[in-house]
């Protein structure tokens, strides 16, 4: 199966180019430092267990945001050159005359990168959760679901960067993907404000951005599973005051949205294959 050959090659390249070791060492350092920080919370003067739980839950969301950012930026930086630089350097010229379809090359790269993203999300997230639990005794309500959404966010952005990589130069594809990522983040804030103040125009813009680039939607899916019930209740009671907080989600993602994300992924992958198949080398 040539898709698996290319996927293995992609993971091997990340390893040989020392990407995995660099990410591993840095992640371990972050986990150790943040865990130490969390462990200080219960030792603060006059702090109650409820306050420790409250602070831990909010800090956990912030740390998750940092990891999701690392995943999003990292997967973009790796995916944007994946096809484009192979074409520029002539590696594609050497590989594609073999009995391998262009779609197999592209899907192999996607599979390898998706595995790397999922593996990083799972390992870094679990290490961090264990560190937080050891330091404070706090665990979010559903850390596995939250990590799955963080991984999905990274995979969505990686897939978009891969599509851009079939036509754009590596640096252009990377910049475009990151701009879209941040536009989607602002779109998410616009959606929250539009809903809180019942403004249809702003709400429509927010929904549009969440449908076009589902990264922020998935990030909110992750947040929901990191929020303990008392935080949810307090935030809901705050009413409009919570509007625009990019670190709050008051409901799980609806099934229809999850189905949309799956359809979006399939459509973008299909478009990437179509684009690559028609590219002259």
């Amino acid at each position: 199966m040539r898709v698996l050959t290319i996927a293995r090659l992609t993971i091997l390249e990340a390893s040989r180019r020392k990407l995995l070791i660099a990410l591993g060492v840095l992640t371990l350092a972050v986990v150790v430092l943040t865990s130490w920080g969390f462990s200080r919370l219960p030792t603060m003067k006059d702090v109650t267990p409820a306050e420790v739980r409250l602070a831990s839950s909010q800090l956990t969301i912030l740390v998750a945001f940092m990891f999701s950012g690392v995943l999003a930026l990292g997967s973009t930086l790796v995916a944007a050159p994946s096809i484009a630089s192979d074409i520029e350097s002539g590696i594609a010229l050497a590989i594609l005359p073999r009995p391998i379809r262009r779609s197999e090359l592209l899907m192999g790269k996607w599979l390898g990168l998706a595995l790397l993203v999922a593996l990083y999300a799972a390992l870094s997230g679990l290490l961090e959760m264990v560190g937080i639990w050891l330091g404070t005794g706090y665990l979010p309500p559903n850390p596995v679901a939250a990590l799955a959404f963080v991984a999905a966010e990274g995979i969505v952005l990686m897939t978009l960067a891969l599509l851009l990589s079939t036509r754009l130069a590596p640096m252009t594809g990377g910049v475009v993907a990151l701009v879209l990522f941040f536009v989607a983040w602002i779109g998410g804030i616009a959606l929250a404000i539009g809903l809180a103040f019942a403004n249809d125009t702003i709400t429509s813009i927010g929904i549009g951005s969440r449908l076009l680039i589902p990264t922020d939607g998935l990030w909110h899916g992750a947040i929901y599973y990191l929020e303990p019930s008392e935080i949810l209740a307090a935030a809901r009671a705050a009413g409009r005051a919570r509007a625009g907080n990019p670190f709050f989600a008051d409901a799980p993602l609806p099934f229809a949205y999850l189905a949309w994300v799956v359809a979006w992924l399939l459509a973008v992958l299909g478009l990437a294959n179509w684009s690559f198949a028609r590219r002259g080398l």
Partner: protein, 308 residues
């Protein structure tokens, strides 16, 4: 030619054309390469040579025309198992070792895993990289990368090997080695499509060749056919009047350079007759030299004729 007829050929194209936007890279290539022959593909820069090779190996899609490689339509996935290809401008993954690059191509070509080791060692020996097999490619010179590329192209005993400027980065020893490899390939029945602008190289190894310019074939045939089988003869002569000289034009196209007369298109068996005629008409002959037209002479002449 029908597809069934194309099956007996290594390559056959019919009005194959490729356009990139407004740029015409290939404007109607019609040619045939027989199995087991070494076929030279010549042309000036920008003539469409590399585009033609890319179409043959399925890297680009033609905008018009048809082509068959080993009897199958160009781009056919299964047929690519029997092709070896050395691109002109290429690179292998610098982080891989030479042996790993060869292993990857064994895997991608669908070769049985049990054959990999033997094929890899064979290729490494053939291109002189056995001692560098476990070095990373990023440390290789351009010439060594070209040797590795040649090794990759030869994996799995392909039926057709397409070499796009295979010696452009090689030293004289490397070029000699490549010529030997091409001869070995021919000896074992492999067809070789050699795209090169090194005319002496083509002259030494090719059975037949095609000259392309502006995206179409302007001459094709054996080396003898391309160079002109009748050749030319130079005669150093004195004592002939201008009128007598004009009278000698019946022997061939005459170039009058004073003491030296060059007769083009003169059959070798007519040379004694020419000399006798000159002597009879009072000429004194000092030298008779067959003039061997080189491929470079003929190549330049063909391009000039196209330009005119």
């Amino acid at each position: 030619m029908e597809a069934a007829d194309a099956a007996s050929l290594a390559v056959h194209t019919q009005d194959l054309a490729k356009r990139y936007g407004k740029t015409v890279a290939l404007s109607g290539l019609t040619m045939s390469v027989r199995r087991s022959e070494v076929f030279g593909f010549l042309g000036p820069n920008g003539a469409g040579k590399t585009t033609a090779v890319k179409l043959l190996v399925g890297l680009a899609l033609p905008t018009a025309g048809q082509g068959w490689v080993l009897g199958a339509p160009i781009g056919d996935l299964a047929t690519r198992r029997h092709l070896g290809y050395l691109p002109e401008l290429f690179r292998y993954q610098g982080w891989m070792k030479a042996r790993e690059v060869l292993g990857l191509h064994c895997e991608l070509s669908g070769m049985a895993r049990s054959d990999w080791k033997k094929e890899i060692e064979l290729a490494l020996d053939l291109v002189g990289l056995a001692e560098r097999a476990d070095d990373k490619v990023e440390g290789f010179s351009k010439g060594m990368q070209q040797r590795l590329g040649l090794g990759v192209a030869l994996l799995g005993r392909p039926e057709l090997v397409l070499l796009d400027e295979p010696t452009s980065a090689l030293d004289p020893v490397g070029r000699h080695d490549v010529r030997e490899i091409i001869r070995q390939l021919k000896a074992r029945g492999t067809a070789v499509f050699l795209n090169s602008h090194l005319l002496s190289e083509v002259e030494q190894v090719c059975d037949r060749l095609a000259v392309v310019d502006h995206g179409r074939v302007i001459a094709t045939g054996t080396m003898g056919q391309i160079l002109g089988q009748d050749g030319a003869v130079r005669v150093r002569v004195t004592g002939l009047t201008p009128a007598t000289r004009l009278g000698l034009q019946g022997y061939g196209s005459l170039e009058d350079e004073g003491e030296w007369l060059t007769f083009r298109g003169l059959a070798p068996e007519r040379v004694p007759e020419l000399v006798g005629d000159i002597v009879r008409q009072g000429g004194r002959v000092y030298a008779v030299e067959p003039r061997h037209e080189t491929l470079e002479d003929r190549f330049l002449q063909l391009l000039k004729e196209q330009g005119d």
